[in-house]
Amino acid sequence: MAINIVIPTLLRNLTGNADLVELEAATVEEALHKLDETYPGFRARVCEPSGDLRQFINIYINGEDIRFLDNLASPIPGGAEVSIVPAIAGG
């Protein structure tokens, strides 16, 4: 089932300025893999060379930080909204 991925401004130069990408994926890892196939270089921007999510970027599934779930292995329910959001300063 399709999911929607919200793309932040800082990554839109890779997605042809698209702010929302629809694709089918069962986990965050799979979603990143598919994004990387369509938009080469996408995964390297979001993840460290080690494969882990970069320190200064957050991914949320329906508003829940994947670091509270199963990180990149977190399952994505059908129809979910996945947001990729750079960290912002305290307030």
Binding site: P8, L10, D65, R67, S83, V85, A87
Partner: protein
Amino acid sequence: MSFVYGLKCRECGRQYAKQPTAGCEDCFAPLEVAYDYDAIKRAISRAAISSREKNLWRYKELLPLDGDPVVGRASGATPLLKTNRLAQALGVKNLYIKNDSVNAPTLSFKDRVTAVAINKALEFNLSAVGCASTGNLANSVAANAAMAGLPAYILIPFDLEPSKVIGTSVYGANVIAVRGNYDDVNRLTSQVADRHGWGFVNVNLRPFYGEGSKSVGYEIAEQLGWRAPAAIICPMAGGSLISKIHQGLKEFEQLGLLDNEVTTRIYGAQAAGCNPIVDAVKRSSRQIKPVKPNTIARSLAIGNPADGYHAAGVIAESQGWAEDVTDAEIVDGIKLLAETEGIFTETAGGVTVAVTKKLIAQGRLDAEELMVIVITGNGLKTAEAVQLAPPIIIEPHINQFEQAIKGFAATSSL
């Protein structure tokens, strides 16, 4: 005149033009303002600084404005007080308080960062300003936006302390309460900032905003007679302030403005109910594991602190440490500061006082050395956190008064 030549990524070093920018396009790390320190060194001196008005603009060469400030002209220059009774209560000799609970215009250290950010919004000709906030930033952005004549869009958690909500709305700001915690508000704000071309002080104005915090470090050094203290104890939420204070001291050292070398140990304070940076320091790591906050110290309740990585690094490199305290200890800290020094601080200040007490008990702070506690906010904003016995009510008769004060004598604690 500005000594800024651009922005630079704190982690990978990539350079950017001086414009509103949320973060590094390559690694998403925060950007920092890059200065021409050689030119600043020729322009700045103790005499020049001392001759200027008492506010944060006396350090204007080290702040990123292109012109003169329009708003925030009274911000900064808060008192540095040598404590007597608090030092005695904690068993130390040289304990100072940097008291930003009386900062202007809105009684917290955030007046320093918004002073810079809102002036930058004016310089960039932005049509509106905004922020995500746990309260103090909201107050300060709203007040300075009003003075600048800019509309303000302020996003806060829905269950914030009433005084912090009123202290934002009163300035005519557009306040949006989000059902969620601060980290939820942050996520939404980042998406709002992406969509609207406004100046969000902690998103696309963040590189400039953080610079205001350096003035805490400059002031501490100047007020100590151009010296860096042995230790600074500072509360941590997003983790920016603590590293900016350290940067301020290092800049003064680099510019030859100090009598001593900066060997200041930096100590971070958090609530036990939201301690992701303390946790990283105790693991000897810079990697932050986000938490779900649960503490009365709402202004420090950031579970995923964006500058935590850097803060943990600064603490470790300075050979400092970080500690956390329970909500009960926080309230005791607020009362201790009020009853010994006559300063009513908010919950964040209670955290800092209580952590200082803990660090002294652990032997991490020496009884003789010069230490400075940074008190960042005012107690009247979080008055409900301190549950006190209501006053005794009497009839207007002298004998009832005499009866009442017998009870006070019995319960006096200090």
